[in-house]
């Protein structure tokens, strides 16, 4: 049956509408759970708040477990889902730049827009920084292009590259996630409390 749009169950024209609705809910929940505060987001690097780690880890696992069950029951054809292509060195260097921006400003691109929406000045500066970054990248695109387009490994997943059973992988990953959450709680208890 699914995915709904590639199988023409929902016409393709609804794509943007559905994306907009999901985006509104995503932004609302980000803001409602306090992710528009840079202190909360930066907390994961200083050890006083691991909400970001827990939320995104849990979200990824809930979706992967849900999709595997739906695939098993025949409601979603997993082979038709979009897998983002891997550009190895682009991802590594881009991830490092993103990490530096994350720890220094306390926002990721999504949460920064949430924070702009509630009028945080640091977030406005951050978004201006994103714009400058985009401008620099576009200007020197010829220079960056070999990195941007190169090292393409195609639409691979961890299950493909390590040739492991996805069910076992997700199970072990879940146990690892629970252990990481427990460990994060232990760290949080030892670190001096920060009020924000």
């Amino acid at each position: 049956m699914g995915p709904l749009i590639p199988n023409d169950i929902i016409p393709m024209e609804w794509n943007s509408v559905i994306a907009l609705i999901i985006g509104i809910f995503f932004g609302f929940i980000l803001e409602a759970s306090g992710f528009s505060s840079s202190r909360k987001l930066a907390g994961v690097f200083y050890g006083y708040d691991f909400a970001v780690l827990k939320v995104f880890f849990t979200a990824a696992l809930v979706s992967v477990i849900g999709i595997l069950y739906l695939d098993y029951l025949g409601y979603v054809d997993m082979s038709m889902l979009y897998v983002h292509p891997t550009y190895l060195w682009g991802a590594i260097i881009g991830g490092m730049i993103m990490g530096i921006g994350f720890v220094s400003a306390g926002f990721c691109p999504g949460t920064s827009l949430c924070a702009v929406a509630i009028g945080k000045i640091d977030a406005i500066v951050y978004v201006l920084g994103i714009m400058v970054g985009i401008f620099v990248f576009a200007t020197f695109y010829d220079f960056f292009e070999p990195l941007y387009d190169g090292y393409n490994y195609g639409n691979i997943t961890l299950m493909d590259s390590f040739n492991i059973n996805p069910y076992w992988f997700v199970f072990l990953f879940t146990i690892a996630a629970v252990l990481i959450f427990a460990g994060a709680d232990l760290i949080r208890k030892r670190v001096k409390k920060v009020f924000y």
Partner: protein, 223 residues
């Protein structure tokens, strides 16, 4: 006023959620493995199997062949040797065992032609029909009685006896004419002129453009 038991229970909420999470993930590991069934529902298959539309009679087939109906596609599921010896005009030889290969699939799995399977009797053609039907192929039929019935009714029709009804004579007249069309010569009693037997035309298989599968839309996504 807070419910003390509820508070006590909720203080374990993260542990409970973690346990639920691990159980759900573990469920994936212990699920029995199976290959998902492709094709139509068993009830639908059964309905189609007992439907009279499944068969096409030799008379109807002869009629359509004589009228040069362009919408039929005859599929010979017998062996290659049998096919070379004699085949219905315009038939395409598809060996039963390689029927669902990519090579032949496009001929059978299409909506544009009435696909008619035939073998020496019903048996192999029926098997091909059931298996193809299960994969939800459209417009597929079986020649009732197969080649044996074809010989018995069209090529060598039985002469009706005198006590039989008039429609039996009509049928015989049709079958006799059809057999002449397919190359059988009848010695004429009144006229000594020999009718030149028309050679059996084993025409080449029709060139059928395989139906293009509907291309799935590429999926786009992002962060």
């Amino acid at each position: 006023m807070l419910n003390r038991n509820l508070v006590k229970f909720l203080s374990f909420r993260y542990v409970i959620l973690a346990v639920v999470f691990v159980i759900l993930a573990g469920g994936l590991v212990v699920l029995p493995k199976f290959n998902p069934v492709k094709g139509i529902e068993p009830t639908q298959l059964l309905n189609d199997a007992i439907s009279p539309e499944r068969y096409i009679s030799t008379d109807e087939l002869a009629d359509r062949l004589i009228n040069q109906d362009p919408s039929i596609l005859l599929i010979d599921v017998r062996s290659k040797a049998d096919y070379d010896k004699y085949a219905l005009p315009g038939a395409l030889h598809v060996p039963f065992k390689s029927m669902w290969n990519d090579e032949f699939d496009a001929y059978i799995d299409q909506d544009d032609f009435d696909v008619i399977f035939y073998s020496n009797d019903n048996l192999t053609a029926d098997q091909a029909w059931i298996l193809s039907k299960r994969l939800d192929y459209k417009n597929i039929h079986v020649l009732k009685g197969g080649m044996n019935e074809w010989y018995r009714t069209i090529i060598n029709p039985e002469k009706p006896e005198e006590i039989m009804a008039s429609n039996a004579y009509d049928l015989y007249a049709f079958r006799k004419a059809a057999s002449m069309f397919f190359g059988v010569a009848y010695p004429q009693k009144s006229a000594p002129i020999k009718v030149q037997p028309k050679p059996v035309v084993v025409s080449k298989p029709k060139v059928i453009v395989p139906k293009k599968k509907k291309k799935k839309m590429p999926v786009e996504g992002g962060c």
